[in-house]
Amino acid sequence: MSNQNMETEETYYSNYGPQGGLASGPLKLKMTLSGERVVAAEPDVGFLHRGIEKTCEKLQWVALPSLIEKVDYLSSIHGTLALSLAVEKLMKIEISPRAQAIRLIVSELNRIASHIYFLTTMAKACGAQTASQFFLRDREKINNLFEMLTGARLMYNYVCVGGVMSDITEGFIEKTHDTIKYLKPKLKEYDDLLFNNHIFTNRLKKTGILKTSDCISHYITGPNARASGFFYDVRALSPYCGYEKYKEFLERSIKPVTQSDSLDRLQQRVLEIRQSLEILSLEIDRVPAGTYKEKLSKDGKVPKGEAYSVVESSRGLFGVYVCSSGGNVAERIKLRTPSLSLLKVVPDILKGNEVSDVPGVIASLDISVSEIDR
């Protein structure tokens, strides 16, 4: 459409959210519409700003994992893992191989859980209520595993400084095998529900295109970037917790870039579930013997200094910067969250799409508002 037409077009304004939006959490979109087409869309965040970084300076070190979990509640293991890695750098502790293997297992499990929840919101956004219920049912299986291991369904508080909170419970390994066996054929069902369904694929094709150049300039990481052809995976680039073993596997199984649209991002997530299941099925048999947690001094103090460590969360590069003044309480904690870098790109992605596509595109970006706001 030419510029002149754009000027004479009558537009109107509409809010989208913060209640009832499809991002997980209250995201508001200020949209200027022309008929059914989105002329401009501006995200408004801050509805979940809880001041977590300030709260970190109020609580003791021991309490921090349970706080950092709430930053990205859908992949809470990754938040606590990044914090633990940073604090361990400060305290200069080496983690036992067993604890590392357990950490890897839970982090992959959490990735699967998060991606399945993504599929749920995606299906809901496209009006496939039944498909979304199917995904929720499968997420319960992962929740069962976590419940067995940590006792919680969502806020696990499992990874801690020095290892993990508790050892692998009896029967966990067998149950994990069962779950992997259950989920692998289910992935075929997902393909039937999503990618062999023409209504589903046709409405997602060519909507919400995220350009590779945008990914690089805004440093968008995670599945979104990988679907757009910007391969950036902390697990492969600077491995932690024994991801060295799977470096080649991760680099090998890259999805070829086609459109970098919503459908591609959906396919990327399903691919990652498949990857995680592969890693999980290898790692679950390789848990070495040893202690699950290193002995720490009881005063709960962390030596003076600074540390910064990153992990690959379900949404991308999750970094925690820790600064300690040698006391019980952190001096400053800064969280680098993957969804925040998406914020400036969302208007470009949404522009030119239809109102019907907005829920699908927003859901396909898998924005976690709590991560943006903190």
Partner: protein, 164 residues
């Protein structure tokens, strides 16, 4: 690697004050606040590919704000630059023209710390509610007593809202 880069920068910008700090756990290159644009602009062209801006960290230290820029190279190594600005008139140069992702981060720092980037002060808040008083991430920030009629403190014994 920091050392190498540090030497290069030191030679290139011989008239400005540049130090290599390595005592806190993260190796940092200290630069003065007025040189940010110049030196970071040089860093963006120094490598084969422009390093990614991972995050900007502001800290409240006694009478000044320290601001660290964490970059990441394509190889996965991190690179940290630190600068300082005084608390009375906190101002810094923006690097959003080189790294577009910096805009959000700078805006967040302006909102939570009060450091103004490029003299461009945003009138509306991104994270905080509108008409918020004070910069909450400062060390001397006192939590509000109430905000727009909602009392901040909660008395466990008091019943808050009866059914109308």
């Amino acid at each position: 690697m920091e050392k190498e880069l540090f030497e290069k920068i030191k030679n290139r910008f011989s008239d400005s004050k540049i130090e290599l700090l390595n005592n806190t756990g993260i190796a940092k290159i200290y630069i003065e606040s007025k040189d940010i644009k110049k030196i970071l602009g040089f860093v963006s062209t120094y490598f084969e590919e422009k390093p990614f801006l991972e995050t900007i960290i502001a800290r409240d230290i006694d009478d000044s704000f320290s601001v660290s820029y964490i970059f990441r190279e394509k190889t996965g190594d991190i690179l940290t630059f630190e600068t300082e600005t005084n608390k009375k008139k906190p101002e810094l140069d923006s690097i959003a023209s080189t790294w577009p992702g910096a805009e959000v981060l700078e805006r967040e720092i302006q909102e939570l710390f009060g450091i103004v980037f490029d003299g461009k002060e945003y009138t509306s808040n991104m994270f905080l509610a509108d008409q918020w008083v004070g910069k909450p991430m400062k060390k001397d920030y006192v939590f509000p007593e109430d905000f727009k009629g909602i009392e901040h403190r909660r008395n466990p014994l008091k019943k808050e809202h009866e059914r109308p």
